[in-house]
């Protein structure tokens, strides 16, 4: 865990030495390689993941077998199938590593113990979730209101650091268009 400590996950929260040790023991550091799938649809979802480095994505496979990327997660993001994580139901999403990554895994149960042990963590996490919620809503709005080209431009603006990490076809599946369409959109934007 080098210089990085669990304290850095919960920026701004004061930890005593004991609390820090307790908290640290609840997380598991996991190294994941590009292509690794750490969650499959149909499984239960006991854990969520804090992304320290690299990049992961959640995606959904529809009835016709097509993949749809829901979220990319890079440094300092959390990732899981939160619908299933919250409700205790089975995953409908898959989580795949798209760029070699180091993540910190924590179970729902540990999370709840942590809430009780360290004041501020529950609020910290609630705010994270509220922002997550807001980003989902923003996404619905852009799906409804924007053309392929606009969605692409808006993605670049919102996540300037992500694009270099990922394949074109992953981004296309996030934007809801085909890789061919994305390629054409880029070509058009290039000579503008």
């Amino acid at each position: 865990m080098q210089n990085f400590t669990i304290k850095d996950i919960f920026k701004g929260i004061a930890f005593s030495q004991i609390q820090l040790e307790n908290a640290t023991s609840k997380f598991e550091e996991v190294s994941v390689k590009r292509g690794d799938v750490i969650l499959n649809a149909g499984q239960s979802v006991p854990s969520q993941y804090y992304v320290y480095s690299g990049c992961l994505r959640t995606y959904f496979i529809d009835a016709s077998g097509k993949e749809h990327t829901i979220q990319f997660a890079v440094n300092d993001w959390w990732i899981s199938d939160y619908t299933a994580f919250f409700t205790g139901g089975l995953a409908i999403l898959n989580i795949e590593c798209v760029q070699d990554a180091v993540v910190y895994k924590i179970s729902k149960e540990s999370m709840e113990v942590l809430y009780a042990e360290v004041p501020g963590v529950e609020t910290f996490f609630r705010i994270k979730m509220e922002r997550f919620f807001a980003s989902f809503q923003k996404r619905i709005l852009s799906d409804l209101a924007m053309s392929a080209k606009e969605k692409y431009k808006s993605f670049l603006k919102a996540y300037p650091n992500i694009e270099t990490n990922i394949k074109n076809y992953h981004l296309a599946s996030y934007l809801g268009i085909t890789p061919e369409s994305l390629s054409r959109v880029r070509a058009e934007l290039a000579h503008e």
Copy 2:
């Protein structure tokens, strides 16, 4: 408030007489007529609304002036611009009554007092929000994975009681298609 009491909003939570009175005093009953807009984009969002009867919708007006419906709320649903409600920022959504309604309005501050006064309310509400989150995700998935016809069928299945309350063009703006397209989809489904 006839037979309905605030207790019915928080089904399954035990209220003492005092708690019930305190809770009730925090809510304001509001009657809204079809066409009334109870929240405008650009305003702050101090309150959320529990829908007792009737139907409301949140919608977004995009750069080109088009309306996009985000959510319909009928009996026993909550409605607000939650992104703004949570963060304290300004609304980007509008809330309009689409069918004469009775709602119970409560401010963020009162909500927090209520959390402290009545055990179980905070958890109750957290679960509501988790479901809301799940429904948003489901919506993103269907936007990405479904054709107009499939989205319409899936809407009917998920919200069988809502369709009769609302205008075609509101439903179209929810599905992300034009009223004309929705009309054609219905015509096709009618003789199948």
